[in-house]
Symmetry: C2
Subunit: 264 residues, 2 copies
């Protein structure tokens, strides 16, 4: 912690991200003024944890906080941004897929505060290593966000809205699509009553290897070797699920394409 002036912060949203982020700001010494959530229970639960006020009525959101952090689902962000008067306060959203322009004409001081991580209420998160991507409508606000981010993370990066939409897309492919591969893999194991946890050391090592080097360099397996015998055998084994069979074929062909294209 630095000796910078602590901020008063209102959280709009009380989901996984809001819970982790408000907690990180709380620990860093900032003053969480209030928590708003559309549902009373989740507003109260997070506010109790932070020992602060809560509301589920947009009309009762406190005015004049230093910073408003909106951590709501992407598809209801526009509605809430339009419904609240932020006055001269700084307001940020936390959505990867939404540009800074959503605030234009609806706030004077605004920006984006996007922590690049997947959050769940039940898991502890250490913000220290999480990249926090910031963007602001002017230099003064950028400095405020940079300092706020630096209070909780060692990796603060200025990312504009155009870059951020590609970053979010890359995150979806890297995180959600890989997780889907794990799902399909668990369904294959189910065929022989084998538990998914058997693969834990394998997928952890694969992920660390891809992180420490580069995934293109660390690829292994039948497709990158273009081993058609094994691919054919696997497609046969997958006859229990035409959907997984199709996906195996599409992904294998794409691995072969990528590694033969010279793009690697």
């Amino acid at each position: 912690m630095t000796s910078r002036k602590k901020k008063s912060i209102v959280f709009i949203g009380a989901g996984s991200l809001a819970s982790h982020l408000s907690n990180a700001f709380f620990i860093a010494g900032h003053n969480i003024l209030q928590v708003f959530s559309r549902t009373k229970e989740s507003a109260k639960q997070l506010a109790d944890h932070l020992n602060t006020a809560w509301t589920n009525d947009t009309a009762k959101i406190l005015v004049g906080a230093d910073v408003y952090v909106i951590a709501l689902p992407d598809n209801c962000l526009a509605e809430f941004v339009g419904a609240i008067d932020f006055g001269n306060s700084l307001v940020v959203h936390t959505a990867g897929s939404i540009g800074i322009k959503i605030f234009m004409g609806r706030a004077k001081n605004y920006g984006v505060f996007y922590p690049l991580q997947t959050f769940s209420k039940i898991r502890q998160i250490d913000f220290k290593n999480i990249p926090i991507c910031i963007e602001a409508n002017n230099c003064g606000n950028e400095i405020i966000l940079k300092n706020l981010a630096a209070d909780i993370s060692d990796h603060v990066i200025k990312i504009n809205s155009d870059q951020r939409q590609y970053l979010h897309l890359a995150a979806v492919i890297a995180c959600n699509f890989s997780n889907h591969m794990f799902c399909l893999s668990s369904m294959v194991l189910d065929q022989k009553n084998l538990p998914f946890r058997l693969l834990k050391p394998l997928i952890l090592e694969m992920t660390m290897k891809a992180s420490d080097y580069h995934p293109v360099e660390s690829q292994t397996g039948p497709a990158v070797r273009n081993d058609q015998n094994v691919i054919k055998k696997h497609l046969d084994l997958l006859s229990f699920s035409p959907e997984i069979q199709h996906l195996y074929d599409v992904v294998s062909q794409d691995i072969i394409r990528l590694h033969q294209s010279g793009l690697t």
Copy 2:
């Protein structure tokens, strides 16, 4: 280490798996008699590390070792198994995709010793947590393999050839296909000159979450929410690569299918 009699072991193959496995047996106190490799350099390199003999001539493979471990590429396994007389020694292969039957009529005592992990020469591996899947042609050999595996790992499992081919298929989907998602993701980041390392905390957390709970429960992102606005926007952003665009579409549809099917 237990007080069981140490085994004399010949390694046939000197690639990543052979290097890590022979080293683990060496540390566990077993006697690595010789290393065979098709190329002189790799045979010599591994043998020097283990302070033992080497050859690149199948006719010069020492006879009478307790155990022969074949760690060769899957597609040349049959040829080598047929070319060597193992006498009464126990011979095992280490391939996920090949059944135990490959030894029938070619050896008297045989089995499979399959460590479920991805290996690279440059990365250190701790065998302790790696599942080692064993199979043998009789109970006596099974006990020998179980003890050998227990000398280097805390996770020894009896897996028959039928189960192992599904396990190997699941490993390919979970490991190689996820890694491919990371590759595609890095190509998206390349569009804006963003480094892949930005995603490191995200993919590590996603992998740990999927391991600690279950990937079907830990799925997040636009597809599992069936958020067609974000999906449409991402498909537009991917117009720079029709191949990644197609894969994004296929995987997203499959996530929607899986999570709406009630299978989860």
